[in-house]
């Protein structure tokens, strides 16, 4: 098991290096010089040159890259151009907000998603099934920014039940959590339902019934664990992608999290900030994948064996 984990981590390193390299090059290819963006259009070229030199932007790309990686390995992702603060510190300040939002969204989404999926599977093709699956389909199909805007308009602007934006009270967290979680809940519910319906066709379900288990016992005791295997993987992946910044949700509701940082970084050509957030989220996604993989191992004895 331990060697498997180490192997997986080892495989992740090239991925990480590749992502850093790609973002590094892309940011330098896109039009828009960070110094010009910062200072405005009509500034003395000599000043621009001087500042560029101070920031090390005049050096060849490969030197810049090596320096960046060397510093990053020590936990230093540079200083934000715009905020003039250490990027690592900025990310660590914003991360708790994203964590709160993600955990809240995930908890609600998974609870609702799994329960709705199970109920829908049991009530297959009946009213509750149609109702839940309709809701799930909406969650899956509606773009997050639209869900967020509609929720904001109806419940914050019109009904005034929740604040329009911000993230300083629990009321303020409700709408962003729903906007972010609905989509996840939808896919979890659909997957739980279809897996459960499929698992219930298996021979071992008939064995469980023949043993004398009541229908609920059959579903909870025998079908659910089998049906949840792929769902758990999906949950781990969802959480890691939520944590790595719900860019749209955070933007719409003004949540000061990782996603907002990335958007700010793009808008202001703040290369260190953007690079920092991308590297950080890459690490989160890789971790999420790793956890999903390990969970699968724990849950499915057949895969555990093959390890």
């Amino acid at each position: 098991m331990l060697s498997r984990i180490l192997k997986r981590i080892a495989i992740s390193i090239p991925v990480l290096v590749g992502v850093v390299l790609a973002i590094f090059i892309m940011l330098r290819i896109v039009p828009g010089d960070p110094v010009t963006t910062m200072l405005g259009e009509h500034v003395n070229p000599a000043v621009i040159e001087k500042i560029s030199r101070e920031m090390g932007l005049d050096q060849p790309l490969h030197i810049q890259f090596i320096k960046y990686v060397a510093n990053a390995l020590q936990g230093d992702f540079g200083t934000s151009y715009r905020l003039n603060r250490n990027v690592t510190q900025i990310i660590l300040d914003a991360f708790p907000n994203t964590v709160k939002l993600s955990l809240l969204a995930a908890a609600v989404a998974w609870l609702i998603g799994i329960v709705a999926g199970i109920v829908a599977a049991i009530q297959q093709n009946k009213l509750l099934d149609r109702l839940f699956m309709g809701g799930a389909l909406m969650g899956v199909s509606m773009p997050v920014f639209m869900t967020a805007l509609v929720l904001q308009y109806v419940f914050a602007f019109k009904l005034k039940w929740f604040p329009v934006s911000g993230f300083d009270s629990w009321q303020a967290m409700v709408l962003p959590a729903i906007a972010l979680g609905w989509n996840s809940a939808g896919s979890i519910a659909r997957m739980t339902r279809s897996n459960l319906v499929e698992v219930m066709q298996n021979d071992f379900i008939r064995t469980a019934r023949a043993k004398g288990l009541r229908e609920n016992g059959v579903i909870v005791g025998h079908a659910l664990k089998n049906a949840m295997l792929p769902v758990v993987t999906m949950m781990a992946l969802q959480l890691s992608s939520m944590l790595s910044g719900a860019v749209l949700t955070e933007s719409v509701f003004g949540v000061p999290g990782i996603g907002r940082l990335a958007v700010n970084g793009i808008e202001t050509r703040d290369m260190p900030l953007l690079q920092g957030t991308v590297v950080f989220t890459t690490i989160l996604i890789i971790l999420g994948n790793l956890i999903a993989d390990l969970l699968y191992n724990v849950l499915d004895p057949r895969i555990r064996e093959g390890a």
Partner: protein, 329 residues
Amino acid sequence: MGETMILDIKNLQSHFFTAKGEVPAVDGVSIQVPQGKIIGIVGESGCGKSMTAMSVMGLLRYPGRVVGGSIALAGRDITHLTPKELSLVRGNEISMIFQEPMTSLNPVYPVGKQVREAILLHQKLSKTEAKERVIDIFRAVGIPEPEKRYYSYPHQLSGGLRQRVMIGMAMVCHPKVMIADEPTTALDVTIEAQILQLMKKLCKEQGTSIILITHNMGVVAEVCDYVYVMYAGKVMEQAETFALFDHPSHPYTQGLLKSIPKLDEKAERLYTIEGVVPNLLHLPKGCSFCTRCDQAQERCFVQKPCLYEAADGHGVRCFQYESGGQLDE
């Protein structure tokens, strides 16, 4: 037969309600199971033998349903039990093992736990006591290293071992009747003999009656006391095993027995019963076997034969034995 019947199935009818129409999968089947005996049900695929078993276990799922007849277990009618009552009977008084040992066990739980569950459902034992019982039954069904195997997952066991686990699960609560639906079809011939002997032995020791469903006449000859031959949802012939093999009376049974290749006869081609099992949606008006019968007469095509008594305890659904008197209505 003057013995007490532990299981008495009378005129059982189970139909499937499909988009194309009502399919009479089990069409008036009566089967008597005396205590401690092994009853065989034979027939081709789709003749209704598995459906009869599923009906008895209350395992028929939508769109299938028992529409008539009665099933009495030790004198108690179990045809129309509530789910709760049914769960107390299943696995406890009547149990079942299935054709596919590969898929009949839950892949994500250790096999010992799955057997223990059957005990905990029906008996007031602690988990530790139940575990000991599981290890005992594993030993009884010939699973080597039962303490270790308790924690094995199904995929770590061979097909033969898995079927032994299934038999253990079915026998652990000392049921009155165990239904074995083609228990050896998926196994090697050498394992098949072991499993059959095991079932025979357990049946003797515990006084459990067995309904053995098979399409293999050899298996019937080896273990069964009494045989029912089914065709298109009906019992065509029923007799003690010896009598059936000695005087196969129904043309269908005769065909089945003739289809077994013999080593001492040189034949250019193996014998087959011509034609196929009729579509249950469009059964012939008369005898359901008439279209394939080499002895069919005119009335066979227009009139349904009853089960006639050809000899003592030997029933045949064929007009040739009409003089023996009716056994069913």
